[in-house]
Homo-oligomer: 365 residues x 2
């Protein structure tokens, strides 16, 4: 939200933030800060009243609220797109219906459904909640018939109304991601295909462009474009993909917003994902997503303690002259929480990655 | 101020703004917005109280106020440096004392002093106020003995206490500028030598790097470094220089802040002048000022009417995919007022300049 707000300010716009607590990183950047969340109707109405165009920085808002907003103001991505994306089963069905390659997936409405899925498509597979999962939360790995039952029951015991799906386990070589901007005119800008490296299901490093065959990069870009078109996406979208050994690419899922895998675009591309978010939702011409440099690497700064959100010392990071430091000003750190990131840009991707790793190791929390 | 604030936010800092009116572009970006100016002691004290480090976005503040602040908080550039710079005669004397090349200059305390200067060093020359001039305000061109008298009297009739100086007219080939960041440790980062093109004494275009011999670019950078050292500058400094026919370079003057000639660094350099401003005043290691691309060009968007600060249509500018648009969100436009700028980056300076010119022509006010 903070980085979207900065892009809006740069273009001369004003910014209003609605969040369910005060002192949020982006809320600190404006006087138009609505801190009681979007479920308090009066606050939401005041927020709508002073806004011209509304966008989202996460996908966890009830589509009914988005529809309420959309009766009064432009909202992008649209409530329909958001509803479709929020349910990962609908999302994947849409891709499959449009002949886009995805892992095998099925609805799971009983423990027996899970056993059947494993028998038919093999163990291990992933049992996941259809909604509200992120960074590995809401996922369970099912290794055999016994865990198919226990995983199903564990989810249902937490919340009996929860909807589940199964997805075949993809033995991938690399995880890829492509950012796509699309405005209401249908203009599309595609960013380079990047490689993402996860640690404990959390995006940890991004290497741009992905160090894979150029044809595979192009194929991933084309799949990402088709995926965004299939959901009628307007705004900025992060398309996550799997590259399997042998060169086969599958779409994993789509995030309807600026994405961690696109943070590198601030320094490394002609137009950042944040500026193109603003341009897309305002239906303005989009800026180039091409690299301005040879290569870039981004590494997340994850919380290493539960406590204050401020690192003890950043001066070692700043000694790398081609590294940019971003701190999000989150007030509290938790172990594993995304507190900031660094980006290194260089004439080659490999060199950028090496510099980024050295720099990231030097922060003191 | 807005662009400095954005750089501070990016690095996880909070921002407070003190300005003598409400709804200032940077004031809109924070809740810590002090709108009664720095001459109301209570407001100034509250501003000081919540701030850790204070910097300036213009040079027109009374050094006595800076000294008052500096008793309680770090202020960069220092009150001494600011006092020295504010008086262009002291500024030039400091450069001359340090054997740095400057146009011939003298104090002018009477109309006769002006006549003497013209006789000794030739007409035309420039008669200027020692303090508070900018963008050509406070300058008069003296073409002969008669205008030496009339120009002197015109200044004195406006304000009898005004201090004046004369400077020989420099028949330059190009105007150059170099941004220098310097922290309290004395670390220095120098940005590329750029060419600035003025219209009616207002910076209109910046071409980076300057399309001149590489040795001349280096010479300008070295002069700029020495100039900043000579005034013990800590912060960000824009050093303006004249390139005379034949390759002789003179220092014109220095601005103790991010400078219009350095706006291109946001897109075109590893570290922007705004981020290095923050790093310098926080005594952090400085980022690289080198170009990340082949070349860049910046063009100011000057107000073309007296009225609202919002352009009618920016969509034509945004159709140039490698052009970035910055609008300052100033509430009122005046003819010639700097309302925003665009930057084009490209593999060559020449191409960037051509694209920037096409794009700048396409905005509709």
């Amino acid at each position: 939200a903070k980085m979207i707000a900065s892009a809006a300010y740069r273009m001369g716009l004003n910014v209003a933030i609605i969040e369910n607590h005060s002192n949020s990183p982006a809320g600190d950047m404006t006087k138009n800060d609505f801190v009681n969340g979007w479920t308090i109707k009066d606050d939401l109405d005041r927020f709508i009243e002073i806004s011209d165009i509304i966008t989202l920085e996460n996908e966890f808002i009830d589509p009914a609220i988005l529809r309420y907003i959309s009766n009064k103001r432009l909202v992008y991505p649209s409530p329909d797109t958001m509803q479709l994306i929020q349910d990962k089963y609908s999302q994947k069905s849409t891709f499959a219906d449009n002949h886009l390659p995805v892992p095998i997936f099925r609805e799971i409405n009983s423990a027996e459904d899970g056993i059947t899925f494993g028998r038919e498509f093999g163990f291990p597979f992933i049992l996941k909640t259809r909604k509200y999962g992120y960074d590995g939360y809401g996922n369970a790995t099912v290794i055999d018939q016994t865990t198919a039952v226990s995983a199903f029951e564990k989810f249902k015991n937490k919340d009996s109304s929860i909807l589940l799906m199964a997805e075949s386990f993809v033995d991938f070589d690399k995880e890829l991601a492509v950012m796509i901007a699309r405005n209401q005119n249908g203009d599309i800008v595609v960013y380079p295909t990047v490689e993402t490296i996860q640690k404990n299901h959390i995006c940890h490093e991004v290497i741009a462009p992905a160090m894979i065959d150029a044809n595979l990069r192009l194929q991933a870009q084309n799949l990402a474009i088709e995926a965004v078109k299939s959901i009628n996406g307007v705004g900025m979208f992060g398309v996550e993909l799997f590259l399997r050994k042998g060169g086969n690419i599958l779409i994993n899922e789509i995030a309807p917003r600026p994405h961690n895998s696109g943070h590198y675009t601030i320094e490394a591309c002609y137009t950042s994902q944040f500026e193109n978010t603003i341009r897309a939702v305002c239906n303005l011409p989009l800026g180039s997503g091409e690299l301005i440099c040879g290569g870039a690497a981004m590494i997340n700064l994850l919380g290493e303690r539960d406590g204050l959100g401020v690192p003890k010392d950043v001066s070692q990071i700043l000694k790398y002259p081609t590294v940019s430091l971003h701190l999000y000003n989150k007030k509290q750190s938790r172990i594993g929480r995304k507190m900031g990131h660094i980006t290194a840009v260089s004439q080659s991707t490999h060199e950028a990655h090496n510099i980024a790793k050295l720099a990231a190791d030097s922060i003191v929390w």
